[in-house]
């Protein structure tokens, strides 16, 4: 049987979905994480520890492992492990994105440079060091703008500023976020270098959409397009509702796919799952970012394909079979709501889950936060307390179900002591 090496950080939401998908297939699975599983010694073929913060070292560890247990495919399930995945594939001579391309996709400034060089519509942008004279530089920035960390994901640290004063405050806040991030886990030199600067770019107005796709030899196949019905105008950019299939007219969807194809080409991505975020101003699609991984959180559960295949099955099959044809997405409207963190503090109780589940159209309510957990909203936080899933006859009904279900939930949060 072929062996799939799943790179699963201990902090990911994606474990269950990938294990469930692999469990339905005739494959041997090895799960690699950055910390040892407590039972690793009982099953060394299936439980592996890799130095995720050091891609070159992790690649050597994977080569050593593969000498005993040959590996046929490597799948990075989250942003944190895309570079490690590319390094391992390169070392094992497996089909994958180049390490250079994956590193570029994880660096927002480099991404912008590559988009600009390829002639893609790109907001005005510049890289600034945290140690630069921020009040002076603030005078030269066009407002409204968005300050972004170069290397973080999931909207963490992304803040809109409408004037010089807000800009200075945003940069100070982002600096604290990045410094905390540096302390929270080991970083390689590339990452530490990225965290010494930040990106400032023009705020692009208009609705935001997300595209899920798979790449094979550089050719993009769109799996799903999500509308985000809630306006994302800042100051922070919290994800909430995703709806699919998109309400956008066919020609606009084709423009979005074309823009994404051009973006992955500009970066140099060629294989595997792709998750892209775009804005749609009146002038046409603007690529915000494109990442070599599948949709985050537990959102993939909102996608339904023919033959009951899941997104994770598609990703695993495609990694093993160069000629695999991914199935077509179901046309029945569905959606997911990433439940926003209501306020900062310690979660003491969650009320109304049964009522939220009982809302017509709701498929599932998944609460991922646990009582006693410290909840941190954006821009400092990076975790959702839970996810709501709905399917219905129309997109309006899906959206209404998600909002009604969310309204039933009450998170009792005790403000955290400073």
């Amino acid at each position: 049987m072929p062996r799939v090496l799943l790179l699963i950080p201990t902090s990911t939401y994606r474990t269950e979905a990938f294990l469930s998908a692999a469990g339905k297939m005739d494959v041997d699975v090895t799960v690699a994480s950055e910390h040892p599983n407590a039972l690793a010694r009982l099953n060394p073929a299936a439980l592996l520890t890799l130095s995720f913060a050091e891609p070159a070292r992790a690649a050597q560890q994977a080569v050593d492992f593969a000498s005993t247990y040959p590996v046929d495919a490597v799948i990075a399930v989250d942003d944190q492990v895309t570079c490690v995945g590319a390094a391992i594939c390169q070392a094992l001579a497996l089909r994958h994105n180049s390490l250079t391309a994956v590193q570029a996709a994880g660096d927002k400034y480099r991404t912008r440079q590559l988009f600009q060089a390829a002639g893609l519509v790109t907001p005005r942008f510049q890289k600034i060091a945290f140690d630069d004279e921020i009040p002076t530089l603030a005078r030269d920035v066009d407002y409204p703008c968005v300050v972004k960390p170069l290397g973080l994901s999931g909207s963490k640290g992304v803040i809109r500023a409408n004037n010089e004063m807000e800009f200075a405050a945003s940069v100070q806040r982002l600096r604290q976020i990045v410094e905390l991030e540096n302390l929270s886990s080991p970083k390689d030199e590339n990452c530490r270098a990225m965290n010494r600067s930040f990106l400032v770019e023009e705020f692009v107005s208009g609705p935001e959409i997300a595209l899920e796709a798979i790449l094979r030899r550089g050719e993009l196949r769109v799996l799903a397009l999500f509308d985000k019905p809630d306006a994302m105008d800042g100051p922070f950019f919290e994800e909430t509702i995703y709806l699919t299939p998109s309400r956008l007219p066919g020609p606009v969807q084709e423009q979005v796919a074309g823009c994404t194809q051009a973006a992955v080409k500009a970066i140099g991505l060629t294989e595997g799952a792709i998750h892209a975020e775009l804005r749609l101003p009146a002038t046409g699609p603007v690529m915000i970012e494109v990442n070599p991984r599948s949709i985050g959180g537990r959102c993939s559960r909102s996608l339904h394909f023919e033959d009951q295949e899941t997104l994770e099955e598609i990703i695993i099959r495609q990694s093993l079979d160069d000629d695999y044809e991914s199935p077509v997405a179901d046309v029945q409207p569905s959606g997911v709501m990433m439940i926003p963190v209501p306020s900062a503090g310690v979660l003491r109780e969650i009320r109304g889950v049964a009522r939220a589940e009982a809302v017509t159209g709701i498929d599932a309510v998944h609460i991922s936060a646990h009582v006693g957990q410290k909840l941190v909203p954006l821009p400092e936080g990076s975790a959702y307390p839970g996810f709501l899933f709905a399917r219905a006859a129309t997109l309006d009904a899906v959206e209404a179900a998600l909002r009604a279900s969310h309204a039933e939930l009450k998170f009792v949060i005790e403000p955290a002591a400073e």
Binding site: I8, P9, T10, S11, T12, Y13, T15, E16, L19, A21, G23, K24, M25, D26, V29, V31, S33, H35, N37, A38, L39, A40, R41, L42, N43, A46, L47, D78, D79, Q80, S153, G154, S155, K156, E239, G296, G297, D307, Q308, E309, T310, E313, R317, D321, P327, M338, I367, S368, H370, V371, G372, Q373, S382, A383, Y384
Partner: protein, 199 residues
């Protein structure tokens, strides 16, 4: 029994797996997993199913038969052959699982004792480092019910620990164990060792 009277519904679980539900019990109130063609030797239903080219795994449970196939064959082709094999088996009156195969399965009391031994000697000493504990709740026939507590309850890696650590150890020590079911209320975990935090 006329083969034509037997109604069988095929429901795809995934591209590689299809669940066939028969309108009558095939293996009443029991389940048995055949992980290979070799394991099916002597069990008439499984032998018939493995005779279909492309069948790689068979799980028989009451009125359901879950079949895995290899990538080289298509369901529309082998689905009909599987249906015919099930009908042929029912018409034969043969047992679904041979007495010998079932006889090799330890009693539920024996399974209980051996699972507890695995948990005490291998699993719990290791997961204690993470503040975790696994308890044996019950064994019904050859189905094992366990519960995870402490750092394992609600842990973001509990699925990995269960599937590749606990299940693997139990199956290696006790051949013939059926499903291993986690009955933990993970949502109620108060102190999980790993908490999902990455958007």
């Amino acid at each position: 029994m006329s083969q034509a009277e037997v109604s069988i519904t095929g429901e795809p679980v995934s591209a590689a797996v299809c669940r066939f539900t028969v309108d009558r019990p095939v293996y009443p109130e029991k389940s048995f997993a055949f992980m290979s063609k070799e394991a099916a030797a002597g069990s008439p239903l499984a032998e018939r199913l493995f005779a279909v080219d492309g069948v790689s795994r068979v799980v028989v449970s009451h009125d359901q038969i879950t079949v895995n196939k290899t990538a080289q064959v298509e369901w529309p082709v082998i689905g009909k052959l599987i249906g015919a094999a099930i009908r042929e088996h029912l018409a034969s009156g043969d047992a679904a699982v041979s007495d010998e195969a079932w006889g090799n399965v330890p009693s539920s009391d024996e399974i209980k004792e051996q699972v507890q031994q695995v948990l005490d000697s291998e699993v719990n000493p290791s997961i204690a480092d993470h503040g975790g504990v696994v308890r044996l709740i019950n064994v019904e026939e050859n189905t094992v019910f366990i519960q995870m507590g402490g750092g394992c309850q609600g842990c973001g890696q509990a699925d990995v620990t269960l599937k590749f650590g606990i299940e693997n150890s139990i199956r290696a020590a006790i051949p013939g164990v059926g499903a291993i079911l986690d009955v933990t209320d993970h949502a109620a975990g108060r102190n999980p060792y790993y908490t999902p935090s990455k958007k």
